[in-house]
């Protein structure tokens, strides 16, 4: 990866050339996954430096290293020519590096001002809170950020977007040198986005270095000065935004198609397994209609927050729809709970395998049979040997790497954990299987195995829905792709007609059919 050849000379005079923050050859591993491998990054004062990559490319790991949450296994972090070790977020803050989380680390029951000055509240007489000072100073910062809410407002009453502004306000208190934004627009409306970008530009003007993490091309090209690309934990080069284009960075980001060996035959369509008509929940999504046939894979592609997960949860009986209906095998059914859904042959591999997929403390075998434990019980008595047989069957079939059936899922790698969750649903012999972000945070090998598996499952006559935010994934596995934007279906593609460009347009709301 020779960065010099890829970076052409700047046309205009760029901001100061000397890097403020430099990462050299940084690596980080987790059990089973090499999250970062020899990553380089240099960020200059007064620039917006975008960090681009797919989910699982290592962006968030890198960001957590910057913020002191993780420590790198190898490599150096250099801030203003000094080698620094940031062993906690607190230390990172002392060095002037601040992270604006996706998961907000705020206290919902306290006021805006108290959150902004958390751990740092203005005092008088050393022990008392200087409320006037607190609210005034907070007010100044909020004005600077163009915020309409008051410092005395309770944080929990604010919208997510405004809470995010509070996070930013908090960063400003420390007059930071580097601010890292992690997907800050994921939950913002267009107007809020404009305000946020204004703030970021202002920060940049005042000489702060901004690291901006996102996978939304439009934003990155609108905002950034330079773009660094990560793929599968490796560094793919840095580009001046003005001298590159979306195609170039996209190619860098996606790279060679890993699953090129998946052959695509037109599916043998069976009967209509699932028909959704006019489904809607106020504030989440509306007017969702689609169908899935036995034997095909339908991909749901869209940005985080487009409403895909919520639709799947509704179909699975976890949410109550305000309108619309769900038909399974031609029958109108009321699915009020996951156990109803399971009875009707549905399976859902959820988005978050640790929170929703697995009971981590339990063994691989116990997790595998959890969704249909009653089929392994006679008069309440569990037939352990039948359970073991089933688990071992799936261990072979899915190539789960695990020392044995009694082994706790807590210690498995992400890929193997996900395979256990998939095994759990396959063991219920479902007719319709929904997989929500099936390969998020999983190493490349397992990813490709899971993609093959999905194709094979469809071949055996299963109706499969794959929800994904990764374009190569939906392109590889799907027979049809449904694109979503902001709670609506914007377009349905057949396999033949889809291009990356039209797909991107459909999920960013640039075209209407």
């Amino acid at each position: 990866m020779n960065t010099q050849t890829e970076m052409k000379e700047p046309i205009n005079s760029q901001p100061e050339e000397k890097p403020l923050l430099k990462l050299k050859n940084v690596s980080k591993s987790f059990p089973g996954v090499k999250a970062l491998d020899g990553v380089e990054l240099d960020v200059r004062a007064g620039e917006v430096h975008a960090l681009l990559g797919e989910n699982g490319a290592g962006k968030s790991t890198l960001m957590k290293i910057l913020a002191g949450i993780y420590q790198p296994d190898g490599g150096e972090v250099i801030l203003e020519d000094q080698l620094v070790h940031m062993s906690s977020p607190l230390e990172a803050r002392e060095h002037g590096v601040l992270l604006i989380h996706q998961e907000l680390s705020l206290v919902p029951d306290m006021t805006v001002a108290e959150n902004v000055f958390l751990g740092n509240i203005p005092r008088f007489a050393n022990i008392f809170v200087n409320n006037r000072h607190l609210n005034e100073r907070c007010g100044e910062i909020l004005t600077r950020l163009n915020c309409k809410f008051k410092p005395t407002e309770k944080l929990g009453n604010l919208s997510i977007a405004n809470q995010q502004m509070v996070e930013i306000a908090r960063a400003l208190v420390f007059q930071p040198k580097v601010v890292v934004f992690d997907e800050p627009t994921a939950s913002l409306t267009d107007y809020e986005k404009v305000v946020l970008f204004g703030v970021i530009r202002e920060l940049k003007e005042s000489g702060t270095a901004i690291v901006y993490i996102s996978h939304r091309m439009d934003e990155i090209f609108e905002l950034s000065d330079r773009i660094s690309v990560l793929r599968d934990g490796t560094y793919q080069g840095t580009f001046y935004t003005r001298q590159t284009n979306e195609d170039e960075v996209t190619q860098r980001m996606i790279g060679r198609d890993l699953d090129a060996d998946i052959e695509h035959q037109p599916p043998e369509l069976g009967a209509k397994a699932l028909q959704v008509s006019g489904l809607g929940i106020e504030g989440l999504y509306s007017d969702i209609s689609f169908d899935v046939h036995a034997g095909e894979v339908v991909g749901f592609y869209g940005l985080v927050g487009a409403g895909r997960t919520e639709i799947m949860e509704t179909i699975f009986g976890l949410r109550k729809p305000d309108s619309g209906s769900v038909q399974i095998n031609g029958q109108n059914l009321a699915i009020n709970s996951p156990s109803d859904a399971i009875d009707h042959g549905l399976g859902l591999v959820p988005e978050s395998r640790k929170e929703q997929g697995l009971v981590l403390g339990m063994s691989c075998k116990d997790n595998t049979t959890l969704a249909n434990i009653s089929e392994f019980t006679k008069l309440g008595w569990i037939d352990t040997s039948a359970e073991r047989k089933v688990f071992e069957e799936y261990m072979d079939k899915l190539r789960i790497k695990c020392p044995g059936w009694e082994y706790s899922t807590l210690n498995l790698s992400g890929g193997n954990q996900q395979k256990v969750v998939i095994g759990k649903w396959l063991s219920t012999s479902p007719k319709i299987l929904i997989l929500d972000e099936p390969t998020r945070g999983i190493d490349v090998g397992s990813k490709s195995e899971i993609h093959h598996l999905i194709r094979e499952l469809a071949k055996t006559g299963l109706a499969v829905i794959v929800v994904s935010s990764e374009m190569p994934e939906v392109l590889t596995v799907s027979d049809r792709i449904i694109a979503m934007y902001d709670g609506r279906i914007t377009r349905c593609f057949d396999r033949g007609e889809v291009t990356e460009d039209t797909l991107i347009r459909a999920i960013t709301g640039q075209t209407e059919r």
Binding site: L106, P108, R123, V129, L318
Partner: protein
Amino acid sequence: MNRIIYLIKRQPIWIFVFVCIVFFSFSSPYFFDIRNFSNILVQASTIGLIALGMTFVMINGNIDLSVGATLALAASLAVGLQPQLGIIGAVSVGLLSGILIGALNGIIAWKTGVDAFIVTLGAMIGVRGLVFIYTEEQAFYAYDLAYANFGASSLFGIPVLALIFVFLTIIAHLVLKYTIHGRNVFAVGGNRVAAKEAGIRVGPHMLLNFILIGFLAALSGILLSTQMGASTPNLGRNYELWTITAVVLGGTRLTGGFGSIIGTLGGVLAIAILRNGMNLLQVPSFYVLIILGSILILVLFLDKRFAEPQGVGA
């Protein structure tokens, strides 16, 4: 008007207190009387003092089950050591014992990371053991009449015990509301990780609150023994449960991050008024237990219905 509705929403227990006062005033001629009100305050002070500390600890996201035992230990020491140390010396030792037990709980919770529920459950059993070993299961009597006289004394016509309780309630309210420490109590309870990341020293902070509640439990025990002119080894049994009940009635959230001294005062008064009023009406005290238990669950139920939005699986 909006402000009133806001206050009612925030402090529903005060409505209950108000309703109780109106109800008992009409149904008993003895209720609405300054002397009876002083009485109620004195009765409330025992649980009330501990509840002040419990409010800090619970907003912090912890709990202290050892307060009843601490109360008994302090009372026993303060009465039992009088022959050797005199009143002042014995009372000091009593207060010190509370501070030490609080500190011990706090340090264990901080350093070991064992949940405060378990730490103080252990202390509750162990400290009660200490009380029995020290007292040899005997009740102690304060032979110096000055001790019991203090418990019955008044200042400007108001019982001293009531004054102490009111005074400390005001102090606790001010500390919780207007000091840095008080603000951090909410921060630590509301989001411990965020508080730690923001540079608040969570461990020492919690330690301080455990010391506070230990001190208040000891003080409460000593004042209780001045009322009785004696101490018994079984003093304060179940008080931890009563205290938690009062604090939760006052709207402090069990999981931490939310609550107030005003609310706690409401909870404490609700219990005291209910007991006092029922007593005046000659209702057997058993019914008070049933009513209190039901109210506690009802408050929880209402809180859940109106406070929480419905999410996945709710």
